[in-house]
Symmetry: C2
Subunit: 383 residues, 2 copies
């Protein structure tokens, strides 16, 4: 029974990072760099919510395990917030505190998908969702949605076209990563109605809910709490991506199954990160959002204007079709040329069937560095 | 296609916590409690390695994402330590920093197991490994090993008896959780030789490597680096379980696959936790171990003596057969009676086919509380 070096089939079919292929160039680069490819923030978290603010004297045992469910003080804050924002009565039993939105979605997918189950990913989508599904043997099905769908009347026919007997769920990201769009409320309602008719799960990735610049965010859970898993993140809301603390809110009768998977993939969410998140929920986080949101909007609007794009509606990204600038080397050639100028952007194929798109994040580095990076990109695009 | 509320079959077959069934009793309890059921420490981490010691001024961006591979400063420390301890040349490419040993094992299992693959778990075993396997569709096969095996000559015949065409790996925990035994070096060698003959992976859970009180820990990786994944934890070594930072060292050509799964289950390990771990590796951790190890041994030896057991060889646990004290209510009745006295112990069935055993941790609470809890247990056992 020769086994070594056997690798899980689903995993070996997953693509590694495109950037690993360009890593040798990065290593030899000099001059200023413009890392616009990651989704992060240049801001430090609010004072009072940093690791240096969390003292053993105030929180004895703060380096020990927390409950795999979540710290009670944080669960209480999440319950209050979820109830208020969605209008749906929420209990601690509806919630799992998780190792970021990634951990939250992983546990949800692990609990609800059998191998071969298909999930419709409304595209463009957050790149990791496809790999999360594959990690648990489920099948991502990209459905180009943002752009092609011009109103709620388009939704049913589009989703019907991609659904099969194995479809188990529909995943959506709004405010959207990577397009910077906010899916309109009437389209959310149409997606929910379609999922209800077919009895499917809804995975609503709402980690950018606090960064809406125009329009309004509609919570799928507000109208379908029985089938919606809403995924949230302190990473994006309050500049704590490195803390790895997010959460998922879902039907109480299924959350016990979700917690089984989280217990066996990351056990519990870092205790200090949960204390920091609870502190952010006491008002310091909201004050921080009020301060940085105008800065994000200013940086995003300036970048969009320079690139000749619509101003962003939400999230922290711009989405750009660079088809006219590609030569026979394709997108990898374009990425390599950008890299030679110190400019890193995220490749479209990570977000769905988009061989000629790129994504830039306008909040990962300070506005002045972002502006210089965008200037280089604009010139390269002849804009 | 009715789907809701479909649950993953492998997950729905997983057992929830036995304690959840006793939770209502806990809620109404008064008086001192003796939580000897968790594996943790009553000690705070070393000064300089606590969250309050990590300042944004010294580590700008310390709340942002770290590389999914691990912080370079921590990878360097791990590489040096793994090379020195195992005698095997180790590079950053052999290492993944992970969300605790749980995250490390989860990513390793996800990368190496196809659904239906079987893993021999040398029992008694660390409880979460069975659920980790099930989360990824693999099949745990308990092999009663510690106790039945009296020398290296027993190993091949025993493992042959449980191996099938689907066997993909053998998992061992040493120093052992839950028995407090250290698997002798000649038995490790026999396990490795058997795995090499069959071309199987070896999952070596070595999170208690720093807590050996008698005998010597033998690293499987030292003799089989091509097939061994060694799993380690700063949680257990340095009292940082709540930080969720551990690592796995394995064959470089497979670690890329392991990182694919970790990226999609928890993305990256908390940045501040990695800085704390790197600080511990600079000598402060070793000094901490030198201080607490005699305290652990004293608490464990005193508990063992009071219970009429052999002194512990390693780890932080004692393993007790309570068959003589069980009535027709079985182990759950015994656990309930203990709970009525404020005493929590871990049930044997979590660790393999042990319906009459319990595990106690003698490091989770301070030595005086531990001693009072052990006294109650000893009286209940008529010892």
């Amino acid at each position: 029974m020769p086994r070594y070096p056997g690798i899980a089939q689903t995993v070996s079919s997953m693509e590694g990072s495109l950037f690993s292929k360009l890593a040798h160039r990065l290593a030899t680069m000099t001059g200023e760099r413009y890392p616009l490819h990651v989704g992060d923030t240049w801001r430090e978290p609010a004072e009072g919510c940093r690791m240096e603010d969390l003292h053993v004297a105030d929180h004895p045992g703060m380096h020990r395990y927390a409950s795999p469910h979540g710290l009670p003080m944080l669960l209480d804050g999440i319950v209050a917030r979820a109830s208020e924002r969605t209008g749906i009565a929420t209990e601690p039993g509806n919630v799992l505190v998780a190792a970021g939105a990634t951990g939250a979605l992983g546990a949800t997918v692990g609990a609800t998908m059998d191998p071969g189950d298909e999930v419709l990913l409304l595209a463009p989508y957050w790149p990791l969702i496809a790999g999360i599904l594959k990690s648990f043997g489920a099948v991502p099905v990209a459905v180009p949605f943002i752009g092609p769908v011009t109103g709620p009347g388009d939704v049913e026919e589009l989703l019907d076209r991609y659904a099969t007997e194995r479809t188990a769920a529909v995943y959506l990201s709004t405010p959207n990563n990577p397009t910077g769009k906010v899916i309109p409320g009437d389209q959310i309602d149409a997606i929910v109605a379609w999922a209800q008719t077919r009895d499917l799960w809804i995975l609503a990735d709402e980690v950018y809910e606090d960064y809406v610049y125009s329009g309004e965010h509609r919570y799928a859970r507000s109208s379908a709490p029985e089938r919606t898993f809403s995924v949230h993140s302190f990473s994006k809301a309050y500049g704590m991506a490195g803390n790895r603390c997010g959460y998922v809110v879902g039907p109480a009768d299924v959350m016990g199954q979700v917690r089984k998977v989280s217990t066996h993939t990351f056990y519990s969410t870092p205790t200090a990160s949960q204390i920091a998140a609870a502190r952010a929920l006491d008002g310091r986080g909201a004050a921080w959002v009020a301060e940085v949101k105008p800065e994000y909007l200013a940086a995003g609007s300036a970048a969009a204007e320079r690139l000749g794009l619509d101003a962003p509606e939400g999230s922290q990204f711009l989405w750009i079709d660079v088809a006219e600038q590609l030569d026979d080397r394709g997108l990898m050639g374009f990425l390599g040329d950008c890299l030679d100028e110190g400019l890193l952007v995220a490749p479209g194929p990570s977000f769905g069937p988009y061989p000629t798109h790129i994504r830039v994040c306008y909040t990962a580095v300070s506005p002045d560095i972002t502006a210089r990076g965008i200037e280089r990109l604009a010139r390269r695009l002849g804009r």
